[in-house]
Amino acid sequence: MTTSHSVMAQLNTGERALALIGGEATDANLRRYLHGIPGIDAVGLEQRAADLGTRSIKTSSKKWAIDKIISLIDLTTLEGADTPGKVKSLVGKALTPDAGDLSCPRVAAVCVYGDMVKHAVAALGSAHSRGTDAGVRVAAVATAFPSGRASLAVKLADVRDAVDAGADEIDMVIDRGAFLSGRFAQVYDEIVAVKQNCRRPDGSAAHLKVILETGELNTYDNVRRASWLAILAGADFIKTSTGKVPVAATLPVTLSMLEVVRDWHRLTGAKVGVKPAGGIRTSKDATKYLVTVAETVGEEWLSPGLFRFGASSLLNDVLMQRQKMTSGHYSGPDYVTMD
């Protein structure tokens, strides 16, 4: 890490990547760079994550954490059975998470398949963020989600479609096959191409979340390398999982991605977001993630611009905790609304 912070900060994403890699983004150059990154000791990483998980978040901190978690949720429905009605209901839940307590914050975004974007946008109406920090964002999964097994042309068309329909954020998947067989340049180029296709005619762009599908990458070293690769290629966010393979987000995996984001910030001054998705179902679990973010990259990351939870059932568990904090007693699933 010899390149100075100030020099790095002045370069655009592409130039910065090339400066770091030390040449064109070829398989060989990327391999040399990614394999030069220090490895991860799995036992130590898991131990650190477990230690962070023992933080005791009580009273005022718990109250703050609960509202924070809600404001960081990408409320998600990604089913083959999704319909405009289902999406409308999801949007209703996103806007009014707790019908009994209007002081409850809204979630960060709704996350849907590309063809549902227009329905989500319509349902949000004036509550749609449209690139501002107020309101709820619409995120669309794209690039032949969840497998990513389609030609680049199809993937890019998928992205264009969602952006044109009004998506504020694109959640793309990387080509895990290419990554695992060492075709790093292909993964890199695809992310670069998708990023270009996130641009809107007015010059603004949809935010790009890059899903690594860590459950398929299998090792922490792979997760670390894929994180660096995605960030070098211009990811605004790195995201753990699609939620469609058996192993989704875990605290150690998320910790290792946060460490990359921290190192990238140290190196370049730029800030990249992290989104664990899938498998985070309880308020208690989500709180462990908040602790891990705050103690690894800093509290600044606890904002929708830099951290999200990809989840669906999490919201109601958090709401039940929230009701308990206000009323002093536990309610039950019938006292929170379905989406």
């Binding site: 000791d41 023992t54 005791s56 009580k58 005022s60 901190s61």
Partner: protein, 502 residues
Amino acid sequence: MSFLDYAPAPESQAVLNLRADYGLFIDGEFVAGRGEPFQSINPATEKQIAMIAHANAADVDMAVAAARRAYDKTWSKLSGSDRGKYLFRIARLVQERARELAVAETLDNGKPIKESRDVDVPLVAAWFFYYAGWADKLDHAGVGPTPSARGVAAQVIPWNFPLLMLAWKIAPALAAGNTVVLKPAETTSLTALLFAEILQQADLPAGVVNIVTGGRDTGQALVGHPGVNLVAFTGSTGAGRAIARSIAGTDKKVILELGGKAANIVFDDAPIDQAIEGIVNGIFFNQGHVCCAGSRLLVQESIHDDVIERLKARLSTLRLGDPLDKNTDIGAINSAEQLARIRELTDIGEQEGAERWSPDCVLPETGFWFKPTIFTNVSTSHRIARDEVFGPVLSVLTFRTPAEAVAKANNTPYGLSAGIWTEKGSRMLAVADKLRAGVIWANTFNRFDPASPFGGYKESGYGREGGRHGLAAYLKPAAGRSAARAVPPAEKTAVPRKKAAK
């Protein structure tokens, strides 16, 4: 509000039911001591927790006599499996009363509750469970068939892990069939006395374990008592030397587990984030009051600046304060005396030209506290690189090649532990092979397991605790075998030994 200013999360003390004063535990009963009772204070608040009895020589005499009686009449007559039952029972009671023991340990010692709760007390139970399993398998302890116990063991333990050191001493001693007189450290008697209550609860026969609290004089009376067969001591090298002198010329078996100045070696290919955690855990765990603490960081020159930058950032997230708060990472220094020693050595470190750094953190107004501290630009001749500080103080040195790392790591009168951080397995093994230390951790630090022997080279002591080796120390070979061993085999004596060509 800053999220990282976590709201207070103190562990409740309601679970504790302490008495105002504690006697000595002799022959299964609490009895008054004949010395002047002393205060046990909470190092985080300097407030009195309880008054503790002080055993004088006559009390020690009584305790040793009780242990002898119990050995002759009860304990040595029990079968191994029956001794094992008592140990299993003790282990389960420790688990049942884990919360209470953890709170008492934190109150008395100053260590963070998360450590007493997650490390000390679970390991105490693990130690008793482990040695309970050995009690009926002594034939396999490595000292030949039908070994016998040594008799009465005198055990003197330190203040850094009061209950855990008690378990390290008592569990193997009882499993092997010995009876025990144990003296806790003066500043941390509390959990040993709660443990005595557990022994009563477990119905352990009277006199099998006796606990005599008191000062240095109590320890000297115990170690020097003619009625003890074995002396086991954990503590400073100075005190260990005095013990070795006092028992010279007697037939007492001795196990000494003394100081250390461990090297934690970080190679340039180390898994860097885990190495940083390991460095922090190595020296700031238990406020650095750890004999095997990784107090000398040996970092490869090429990554020195990066490691220091990361280490400083990590230290800035450590939380120092109320040891009973579940989020506290660094607790109180155990005593005013120890705090003075840490201050003295760190002042010398500065005077000798090392560069001192500590994170910004507010120290509580009462109690004994010391900020986590790192010294860079340390050379091997500095006192902070040679003397055991026994506090949260890390000295950073550099090396260029594996050979230099090994030479620097071994360049100490101590040899208790060492750490190696590298992703290359062959280097790990090659370096471990050359380090003169009893315990070597690779890509981890300060991990303990009852099955693993622990002990030192050189001035770190002799004898091993833990595992089969720790058990063997409390056993002697069957009488016939030991006599046979005293006479070397004929064929070996027949070969004339060459004179050393010096």
